[in-house]
Structure formats: C-alpha cells, structure tokens
C-alpha cells in the first residue's frame, strides 16, 4: 500500500504538479473553446451542404465527411503541424508554418467538423418532413424554413450527441502532446520524467476526470430527457 501511495499518489509530487497542470489546463480550455466553436459552425455548414439541392455540394461535403471520419486525428495533427511546416519552409510559404496551439485547433476542428456534420445531419433528418412542408406552405423560403423551423428543433435533438462529442474532444486534446502543445498529458509526462515517479499521471487523470465526469452525467441525463421528448408533437 505504501508503495502504491509513494508511486501513484505521492503528495509531495502532487503539490508540485498541480500548479503546472493548472497552466496546462488553461491551454486545453483554449483549444477546446476554439475547436468546439469552429467545429460546431463547420459541422453545421457541412451538414447543410450534405443535404443541399445542389449535387456538387452534397458530393463534396460527403467526401470531406468520409475522409475526416476515416483518418486518425493523430495523423491529421502530425500532418497539419509537421507536414505543412515542411512544405512551408521548402516553398517559402511561411503561413503554412503554424504554432502548436493553432495547429491543434485546426486539426481538431477539421476532424470534429466531420463528426458534427453527421450529428447535425441526423438531427435535421429526425425532424418530420411535415414541418418543412408546413413552413413552405406558409410562404417561407427554404432558408427561412430551415432557420426558423427545422434547425431550432434539430438543435435540441443534437445536444446529447454533441455533449458526447465534447467529451471525446476533451480526451483527444491529449493527442496534441505529439506536436509539443503544453497540454495536460505533455506536462505531466515531462514532470514524471524529472521526478521518476508516475504520480503526475495520476494528477493528469484527475484533471481530465474533473472535466469529463460531470459531462458524462449531463449527457446521460440529456439523453434520457430528449429520448422521451424527441417524438415530435402533433406528428
């Protein structure tokens, strides 16, 4: 037992680790904020393109979504950070050389936009066709019907799956350690190397759980509530 405490819950090391991890958490929060915002918008746009009447849009969005759902985020991260930088420095295109944090935001956004798009598409698809027809029969344009009738209802349906996506995104920020982003996992490994003790990893685990556990609870509660409520009224 003493051994376990010494190696995994070493209070001295914990005290030393926490302030540094707090700084790393700020970085994680920053990445999450932008990646969540951008992938929400990106996913919504992709979903609307995916169901657009214009075939080329449907087709391009479909390719994008399949591609990024099919690639490991780790590969995308590496590509965006190291891959682009290599091309950038060879070709003298400096804008391709990204700092680690923007690179992480971009890679996560690109990948999670594809996931969000599928969630939004399913959400929009779950709204009965009669809603669109009723809106159209009242003289609303396609865009107005989407904006005032379909999307407000679809947003409610997609809140639980989007919450699950946020949980996955929080965990996936750990992957950004491979491109030297000073996030939680990266920091704790660094400290672990110095103190030759895995306690910092324990601290990292706790840090992730502080964010993810409440969300997991929220997600399952939302699923229960929306699961009942999704049967459209009057349909």
């Amino acid at each position: 037992m003493d051994q376990v405490i010494k190696y995994y819950f070493n209070t001295e090391i914990l005290a030393d680790t926490v302030p540094q991890l707090l700084r790393a958490l700020v970085v994680v929060a920053e990445i999450l904020f932008f990646a969540l915002l951008f992938s929400f918008v990106g996913g919504l746009i992709l979903a609307l393109l995916r169901i657009s009447r214009i075939r080329v849009f449907r087709w391009l969005a479909g390719i994008y979504i399949d591609l990024f759902r099919g690639l490991p985020l780790l590969l995308v991260l590496t590509y965006i950070y190291y891959g682009l930088a290599l091309v950038g420095s060879e070709a003298g295109l400096d804008f391709l050389i990204l700092d680690p944090i923007p690179a992480a935001v971009l890679a996560i956004t690109l990948t999670y936009s594809a996931y969000s798009a599928e969630i939004f598409r399913a959400g929009i698809g779950s709204i009965p066709h009669g809603q669109m027809e009723a809106a159209r029969s009242l003289g609303m344009t396609n865009t107005q019907s989407m904006r005032y009738i379909v999307l407000p209802q679809a947003i409610r349906v997609v809140v639980p799956p989007l919450t699950n996506e946020l949980i996955a995104m929080i965990k996936d920020t750990a992957l950004a350690s491979v491109i030297t982003v000073p996030e939680v996992l990266q920091k704790s490994r660094e400290i672990m190397g110095r103190v030759a003790n895995p306690t910092p990893l324990t601290a990292a685990a706790i840090a992730y759980l502080i964010f993810t556990l409440p969300l997991i609870r929220v997600a399952s509660r939302l699923e229960k509530r929306f699961g009942k409520g999704t049967r459209p009224i009057g349909m």
Partner: protein
C-alpha cells in the same frame, strides 16, 4: 372577376414510374367549396400539394389567380401565400406557442410588425375558439385544438383560398365537430375552399361541388346533394356505399 382562383389543365404527376395524377382538369371559382373524395392512394393529397406548389408536375399547367405556377418565372413563395394549407397531421411548430405559430410567417414573410401580426393572430384564435390557449405549446393541446390552431395559422397569412387535406382524419371522433364547425363558418363567410374529406355531412351542408377521384383521374363531379343520392358512375356508387 370571373377568372377561376384555381385552374388545373391536364395535370400529370409521376413519382418515378408511378403515375399518380393522370390528366386532371379542375376549376375552382371564388367562394366555391369544392369537396374531394376518393379511395386512399387516388392522388387527392398529391393534387392539393401540386396546387400549393409543394410538388413539381410533369405535364399540364396550374394557374392560381391566373398566374401559371409551373412557370419558372413565377415566385412560388408569393403564390403560396394566397393558398393556405391545412394538413391531416396538423404540422404545428412544436417549439413555438400557439400564437407564435400564427405570427411567425406574417412577420418573416409578409414583413408585418409584431403588434399587427399579434392582433390578427388573437382575432383568429378567438374565431377558432382558442383565445385562452394563445401562449400554450402545441404539445399541451388536444388534436382538435391543434388542428384549429393550424387552420388559424393558415388564415393568418390572409389567403384567398384554403386547402384542407383530410384535416379531421387523425382526430378522435368527439373532436371532429369543432374542427368542422370552424370550416363551415369559413365556408359561409365566402372563403374559397378545396376540401379533401370523407365527411359527407360537411359536403352536403356547405359543399358547392363534389368531386370523386380514382386512380389519378376525376371520375365524376356534381352537386354534392344530388351526387351523394344519385351517383352516375359505378365506382362512385361503390365508394359512397363504403363511406356513408
């Protein structure tokens, strides 16, 4: 003045290989109440949806107040405001209160002010007997109440004509009368109406014309009171025998 509000000329509608409307001719004049009956699958809903521009047609032409709605030059959203549509499944907007269901389109489509739209909406909710439900969500209303809100919602656009697609079919029998009464009032006020229904009492009382459709064609039409008693066509006789 004497121009029909609705005119269908040889309308053909196909879904893939399935020919649902096979040359429909129809004229509806101002203040007429045209009641359409026919077996399930005969194309009644499809015809109403074509009149409302919700379905493209493959042949023939449809004129609303003299404007060819099948022409690519026509602004279909403009035309739709002239024809209010009420559906079997109500299709109220569940995320909006009753009064918001009524005010949304007048505000967003016709550019009415909120106060003007609400004034119209309150008058209409009063007319359908639901003024006290203005701030309720559709999910808390009975089917009959929802359908009356849906009628009021269509009327809020101040249309020249109303299209009803089996609007009482999804209702419990005891709720049908309230909805029919609203429709009868409208008919007596001179609203031009095309009503797909199996309510023969309604047809007899306020119908100016009865049309029997089968397999995408108008089989027979005439004065409802005469036709219900003495249908000419055998198919009409059979059908009336089943619904009466």
């Amino acid at each position: 003045m004497d121009q029909p509000l609705i005119r269908l000329e040889g309308v053909h509608k196909r879904f893939g290989d399935l020919e649902v409307l096979r040359g429909i001719d129809l004229e509806v004049r101002r203040s007429e109440v045209v009641v359409i009956i026919g077996p399930s699958g005969s194309g009644k809903s499809t015809m109403l949806r074509c009149i409302n521009g919700l379905e493209p047609i493959q042949g023939g032409r449809i004129f609303i107040e003299g404007v060819d709605i099948t022409s690519s030059k026509t602004d279909i959203n403009q035309i739709r405001q002239k024809a209010g549509m009420v559906f079997q499944q109500f299709n109220l907007f569940p995320h909006k209160t009753a009064i918001e269901n009524l005010t949304l389109s007048p505000m967003k489509v016709q550019g009415k002010s909120r106060s003007e739209a609400e004034q119209i909406a309150r008058d209409l909710l009063d007319k359908v007997g639901l003024s006290e439900k203005a701030d309720d969500y559709p999910g808390t209303l009975s089917g009959g109440q929802q359908q009356r809100v849906a009628i009021a919602r269509a009327l809020a656009m101040q249309p020249d004509m109303m299209l009803f697609d089996e609007v009482t079919s999804a209702l419990d029998p005891e709720l049908v009368a309230d909805v029919l009464n609203v429709m009868k009032t409208l008919a007596l006020e001179g609203m031009t109406m095309v009503v797909v229904t199996h309510e023969m009492g309604f047809a007899r009382e306020v119908g100016s014309r009865l049309i029997f459709m089968d397999e995408g064609l108008v089989v027979e039409e005439g004065d409802p009171r005469v036709m219900i008693e003495n249908p000419r066509e055998e198919r009409t006789q059979k059908f009336l025998g089943m619904v009466l």
